[in-house]
Symmetry: C2
Subunit: 316 residues, 2 copies
DNA sequence: TATCCTTACGGAATTCGTAAGCATG
DNA sequence: CATGCTTACGAATTCCGTAAGGATA
């Protein structure tokens, strides 16, 4: 048994049991993958993969039990490398973050500035993706840290921590009838066509829930992934916008008015997530604290060991 | 990085950083070990071992962090094999138990009989050792199950479960003055020379504690590891014996009398232990239930996953 | 001086890629 | 008939043992 074989098995599961794809992503010949997997199965004395004729179609019964342990082994192997880097490249290295447009554009710049001051030699890689994709990337260990308001804490292989809360606001052109109302109501908003986030992005779910609970039908004429696009369409007169409050900049967004809407929609909690069982290097832990300053040391400890059990926390 | 390198590191720690011994126990040449360890260190970019000149003397700072993870990886690799065996050799295989003389001689025969009936093809290997050795053997994964009244639950890498409780008794020749007393007292026992277990064996600690608490000095003239030896010396008139109650057989031990002493010494709890993080095959779980029939299913579940966290229990 | 680790080199074993063959949808 | 897995074989790489050298207690 060797680690290469375990990696092939993991990748085969991820690639839906297509060994040709496995071979391509791991830069190896396809017969090599076949042979190694067969050898692993021979050594273990069980078939890991269900086969229909020559094709692999799924996991066998033993396979279903083996794969999670294989995943854990490979996570730990990665942890070994991370721990070593912690010492060898003290304040150097790569740190990759997957996040949504909203966080990357409005929440992270300040954080990144302080981080870069403290760790000038760490290369920060910001990957923009959808909340679902972010959760997947974290779970697979493709990025160190994920940050998103949605989906992140739904994934079983991701451990999350609340980073900060924020509220929605309504954005209208300054000559809009709503621009001067004292207190905004859901009914008032529902009168107008709405431009807001796509489903699954930046608290969109909270918006829909609020109107649904009030029994109101809304006319969403346009959806976008980011507030910049939304504001552009509001400016162009397509409707009124509902965005994250921090996406509004009074100076830059001249011609638009922001109306507080925190009392209308549930408060949103943006969460930060890491891979369960993963290990966070020192500068990654520091970044977590910059993003979520209210985190207690105990939380952070648990977090940086990827939410392992007590016993295993000690071990790391 | 490969598993061989990790095994070398683990063994080096176990063998007190003597690579020559590592080479011998793993049946490989000594330069091979040196080279592989150096290559692992090169790849990780840190030194795992502290060196004085050419000799290894201990773990470095990174080494101390890496070793527990390495141990976990190797445990999981072993788990993979065990899980596979669970399927491939359904009711076949090896099951090794480390236990003291007392358990092997008096508690286990009945259990082994039922087990063999249920699993005739499983080869049972009984290793006799001291409680400390048993704990070590379990922790290292040299045996599947350990059983002992002492020391077992002191080891951090062993998870234990109570198996059964038992009491001590006093054994005297039938013509001894104590043979006919109504209720035995510690004072009465302390009058005579005593033959009993060695320190660290079969509840000896409880015996010492009882006399110490009563402020009595006792004259232990002879100690042994097993009750058969103790009884032989009692018969030969060296003194009165204190043994485990179940070690007395009225038929076989003709000429001796057993006096109940449960009211004098703390009740003993024999525990059964497995390696933390280890995986128990089906027949091993069944053996645990035969030994400790009062175990709840929930306890057993936790036990057979070696006391891992909830998340990891699911995984197995 | 005996023990223990490292370096150097040659042979053995393993791994890996190419090419050809065969099954599946 | 295009996709996907297996088998076969030769090349390349890696691994491992022996032998010699050097450091430590």
């Amino acid at each position: 048994m060797n680690l290469t074989q375990l990696r092939f098995v993991r990748e085969a599961v991820r690639k839906n049991f297509n060994l040709t794809e496995v071979a391509n992503t791991l830069y190896i010949s396809q017969p090599g993958v076949s042979k190694q997997i067969k050898e692993l199965e021979d050594e273990l004395g069980v078939e890991i993969f269900e086969r229909r004729g020559k094709r692999l179609t799924g996991l066998t019964d033993p396979g279903r039990q083996l794969v999670p342990v294989i995943e854990r082994v490979l996570t730990d192997i990665r942890n070994l490398k991370q721990i070593a880097e912690q010492f060898s490249k003290q304040d150097h290295g790569q740190l990759s973050i997957a996040t949504t447009h909203t966080q990357a554009r409005y929440a992270l710049p300040a954080v990144v500035r302080s981080f870069k001051e403290r760790y000038p030699k760490v290369h920060l890689a910001l990957h923009q993706a959808s909340p679902q994709q972010i959760a997947e990337m974290v779970a697979r260990g493709e990025v160190d840290i994920g940050m998103s308001t949605e989906a992140l804490d739904r994934h079983p292989d991701v451990v999350t921590l609340p980073a900060y809360s924020w509220e929605h606001c309504v954005v209208v052109p300054e000559d809009h009838p709503l621009a001067n109302v004292a207190t905004l109501t859901l009914d008032a908003i529902a009168e107008y066509p709405i431009v807001t986030y796509e489903r699954g992005f930046t608290g969109r779910s909270k918006i829909d829930e609020a109107f649904a609970a009030a029994g109101l039908e809304i006319d969403v004429v346009l959806t976008a992934i980011d507030a910049d696009v939304i504001k552009a369409y509001v400016e162009a007169g397509f409707g009124i916008g509902i965005t994250a409050s921090m996406a509004f900049d009074p100076v830059r967004d001249r011609g638009l008015v922001r109306l507080p809407a925190g009392h209308l929609f549930t408060t949103n909690v943006t969460r930060i997530g890491v891979r369960r069982g993963g290990y966070l290097r020192g500068f990654a832990r520091d970044l977590v604290q910059l993003i979520a300053p209210d985190t207690s040391i105990a939380d952070l400890e648990r977090f940086s060991n990827g939410g392992r059990s007590d016993k295993e926390e000690e071990a790391l």
